[in-house]
């Protein structure tokens, strides 16, 4: 008998929250445009395979042999010839300005040394500012020099190895970035919609004094919280669906798992991010504080989630903390579901972790919310 009025007041709070959220058209469009833009840029921008490294050639020898060597250097797409310069200083210069990241210097007498079967000296200079790129450039350059018998230990060709390790990528064979970035984009987006918007929205009520007005009505605090959270949960679900469909249509992101597991994972994840939003709101007295506080959580969470850099390469003391980040579990669930076709038993560990985190965070935030009311 008491269920009906509670339900009614819940509906009323939700209606108020929705009309408030939808009143500002720009809010709605940013919430939709931002993730789509992010997905598109991520999809196209990220090409982790380092290639086309801008390279200058300084050919002081100017013989057919040296020209051949320079050409062979650009045979695969690792390096891209951007300029030819006359002397080593000019090559150095392009490295300094950042116009090139690698310089190949073929000294005078290269062809002569080659003809005399001496090991000719060719110098390759790599800009180390970007460590990842430098590593790739260096490996490729070393291999090239070894292969051409230049400047090696004795100038001799290395013995060809008989054993080989054939690497094979599974699940995302062509290592397409949208495919593994999509779960991360989703997680960030949901965190933004729920945690930041909820925290600031609740702080706004406090700031403008409308929270007191609601509190004098017979609505219970729990109902108030639920009513405030549910519209955003809905928003979140719509976003998840939109991103999944878009990712599938534009970037061929596969969907091997079951929709039920995705929905369950998203729901549990939203549970904890909303809890974080409420928690931050109870800790701050202005929208500015809420915003800064929310970012104070969102940014470290993004960093520690394994979205951008693998958790396994974080220092050992930091790795356990990533277990406390809901985003980490959500990304693992999504990656497993979308790409590997993992089922509910495969992902049990992550789902349980999300449930526990959600309950803990929500319990703390509701307790704090009640305390602030009395």
């Amino acid at each position: 008998m008491k269920i009906v009025p509670i339900f009614l007041s819940l509906l009323n709070v939700m209606k108020k929250e929705l009309s408030q959220a939808l009143r500002d058209r720009r809010m709605v469009s940013t919430l939709i445009i931002a993730p789509v833009l992010q997905l598109v840029i991520f999809g196209y921008a990220i090409d982790l395979e380092v290639d086309r490294i801008p390279t200058v050639v300084c050919d002081q020898d100017e013989t057919p042999a040296s020209r051949n060597l320079a050409q062979a250097f650009f045979a695969d797409r690792t390096f891209r010839r951007v300029a030819d310069v006359a002397d080593a200083d000019a090559a150095q210069n392009t490295l300094e300005t950042g116009d090139s990241a690698t310089a190949v210097v073929i000294p005078r007498g290269f062809a002569l040394q080659l003809a005399r079967r001496e090991a000719p000296q060719v110098q390759i200079i790599v800009d180390g500012t970007d460590a990842t790129r430098a590593q790739v450039a260096m490996n490729a350059a070393s291999q090239f020099l070894l292969l051409h018998g230049i400047g090696g230990d004795s100038g001799a060709r290395p013995a060809l190895a008989t054993a080989s390790l054939a690497p094979r990528v599974i699940y995302n064979q062509r290592l397409k970035s949208p495919v593994y970035m999509l779960p991360g984009v989703l997680a960030t987006l949901l965190l933004n919609v729920t945690a930041i918007v909820t925290a600031m929205g609740m702080a706004r009520e406090r700031e403008t004094g409308t929270l007191e007005q609601i509190l004098v009505t017979p609505i219970r605090p729990a109902v108030l919280l639920a009513g405030k959270c549910l519209p955003y949960t809905l928003f979140g679900f719509v976003d998840v669906l939109a991103i999944l469909i878009l990712g599938n249509l534009i970037f061929d992101v596969p969907f091997h798992g079951s929709l039920a597991v995705v929905a369950l994972g998203s729901f549990l994840y939203l549970f904890s991010t909303l809890g974080i939003g409420i928690l931050i709101a109870t800790l701050s007295s202005s929208q500015q504080q809420a915003m800064l506080g929310a970012f104070g959580f969102v940014l470290p969470a993004m960093l520690l989630s394994g979205f951008m850099s693998p958790i396994s390469s974080m220092p050992a003391w930091l790795r356990p903390f990533t277990m406390l980040i809901p985003m980490r579990h959500f990304i693992e669930i999504m990656r497993g579901c979308l790409l590997k076709g993992a089922g509910i038993t495969d992902l049990a560990q992550q789902l349980i972790a999300l449930t526990l985190l959600g309950i803990a965070i929500l319990a703390i935030s509701v307790a704090r919310f009640r305390k602030r009311l009395t």
Binding site: A131, T208, P310, M314
Partner: protein, 370 residues
Amino acid sequence: MRRFFRRTKAIAHKEVLHIVRDARAVYLALGLPVVMLMLFGYGISQDVDHIPLAIVDQDRTPASRHLSTSLVAAGDFVREADLVSPDDVEAAFRRGSVKAVLVIPFGYQRNLARGAASQAQLLVDGSDGTTATIAMGDAAGIAQATASGRAVRASLSAGPRVRVRFNPAMVSTYNMVSGVIVLILSMVASLLTALTVSREWERGSMEQLFATPVTRAEIIIGKLIPYAGLGFVQTLLVLTLGSYMFELPIRGSLVTLFTCSTLFLLAMLGMGLLASVIAKSQLVAVQFAMLLSYMPVAMLSGFMFPIENMPWWLQGLSMAVPGRYYLTALRGVLLKGNGLHVVLGNVVALVIFAAAVLALAVRRFHRRLM
């Protein structure tokens, strides 16, 4: 002119009072960059290592054991599990407990002894692209070295005539920390100002401001000054911490460094003001500021993803991202010791950008209610 200064000063004074009154926000604004710098610098490493590896050794011979131990000994992989049959591989990947599996087939040693080609297989989980790319590159080198009996690291180390300049040890932290400085400044600066104008709209105090003779430009500039001060403190903090904690070298001149930083800061503060002027509510302003400043800097400045690998239209778009110029200038000054004449192009781009954004903020700031 004197009136202009007096009124601007009054607005700036009012804004300072706002900032000082909310001390907690100041702590957060100063604490956030520090936390991010620490996390990025210590926690995030582009050097992918400790990749969890499972081994399926069907050969069970000295040669196969040698291969698996040298793969692990090279330091990039951690032996997480030993699986009996290739059928278990799928499940291990699905659980996400391993990122790579080394499968050594039956007859590996025999083939090797006979001089025939013997193939072991490394399966890499492509759902994490960063790890996959690096794991594949490293594994190929290790296997080659193991087979030809050389030291495992040898093939990975530099050949005799390849020289790395500017960052010889190829410490990814330098790269990371300089990128993070750009990211932090872009975010914190634009978020700080994003709330200032929109707050006045929301609370209705904008009407009171309009009743006074202050002009739009005076409001914008007056609000800019205190936050520029706060932003400058953040810049100092981040640069100092960066160079102390991560031994980031400062090879160029400090004057050039701070010229570039200040220009970038102004551009980002202007972005926040622009978002604030358009949005009229704090919540929307924050979203706008993120969309205008933080996201482009994070994705298109060349910090995380190399610009030369992007398609042409994104490369063109990245020209409009001030973070790109600042990052180039910052890395040049810090790591290469570039002088002002080398980074001049970047400085000019930053000046143009900052001026354009601030002018646009004033233009879009309509002196009427709703």
